[in-house]
Symmetry: C2
Subunit: 187 residues, 2 copies
DNA sequence: CCCTGCATTTAACATATGATAAATAATCAA
DNA sequence: TTGATTATTTATCATATGTTAAATGCAGGG
């Protein structure tokens, strides 16, 4: 849990009582490469933190596997469109390397919000930051060619290209795998 | 302010004291069509609520005007990538119809978070919902043709096409105005 | 009411990306 | 190591969207 609380601390200082309360509703999972941490069709009731490994959120659009995002060590991963609405998610979380992941039980966490103002504040800040990332990502998608998007990824998150199969990267960039391969070929 | 508090109430019940505190840091502006409510290059320190009218957030990418989003009556508008980071925004807010808008002073609001837990909770929920909208929008962009995106907009937000000049709609959809016109031509 | 300046459409051509198929390359289990 | 499976690249052709230019339509100010 050390890693998790160090991550939290960057957003918000917590009282020891608050940390304990979070620890009590959290469990550590080890999960093998390529397995789904959360399946399609179930409501998201867990917020995950990645200690070790790498995961993606994906869904199917007309039988085509589309990656919505990649998530690395020391980051939070959750299907927020389900977590914050209570609706079942059409998305799944898949682990792309053998991973160690902390799951925080969301309903219990939301109850802690009443008791610990600093916990509510912590997660407010975490999701505000994630919101900002998402807004910035739209800007990246909206008016760039596939090649520009590839180069931006190469520059901003080279780890994705080192650790993730290209077939998953292509849909993340909004193109086919064949196009991605062509773009890489040009250099 | 009635409209504003009715909107808030849909997310979170507030105490009368909390409502008063918000009212005290809020001011009503009337602003003429086509004027910028907030210019490019300044840090966002105000959260706006639209009582009447219609606005967009836009920016320039290599001299091309790009619309990031449209915002109608009874909604919140803010340049969150500046509001939540304190960095200057490369984006502006422009009013597209004569408008009446409530501005909430952000720094004062954030101070109220300490005093009124329910205000912090209110805005946590508001921005969680906005975050979900943004995540869903990425899904809409990622793997649809321009024609599909146009039809989706026609279906989900026909008001945009009725009230907004098409030149602004095109960049919102991630295409040129000529392409949009062609797509509309086919029906 | 008529200009004048924008907004929108139409047309012709250029290009990036998609689709399909086939060839290599890499991975993994036996 | 071998063979089977999966991932990636390469090639060809089709098509959607971009680019530029011109034509048409529309709105606001005098």
């Amino acid at each position: 849990m050390v890693q998790l609380f160090a991550y939290f601390h960057r957003f918000q200082k917590l009282s020891p009582e608050a940390e304990n309360a979070i620890a009590e509703i959290s469990t550590v999972h080890t999960i093998k490469k390529n397995l789904d941490l959360q399946p399609i069709g179930h409501t998201c009731r867990t917020i995950y933190f990645i200690n070790k490994g790498l995961a993606r959120i994906y869904y199917f659009k007309e039988d085509i596997d589309i990656t919505e995002g990649f998530y690395f060590e020391n980051s939070i991963i959750a299907r927020v469109e389900s977590l914050f609405t209570g609706k079942p998610s059409r998305k799944a979380i898949q682990v792309l390397e053998d991973a160690e992941i902390i799951g925080i039980h969301a309903n219990s966490l939301f109850k802690l919000y009443d008791q610990f103002h600093d916990i509510e504040r912590l997660f407010r800040k975490i999701f505000e930051a994630a919101y900002v990332d998402t807004v910035n990502r739209i800007e990246g998608i909206q008016f760039h060619t596939a090649e520009e998007r590839y180069k931006a990824l190469l520059h901003e998150a080279p780890d994705v290209l080192k650790r993730v199969p290209l077939k998953y990267v292509a849909s993340y960039l909004g193109i086919t795998q064949v196009s991605l391969s062509r773009i890489r070929g040009i250099h």
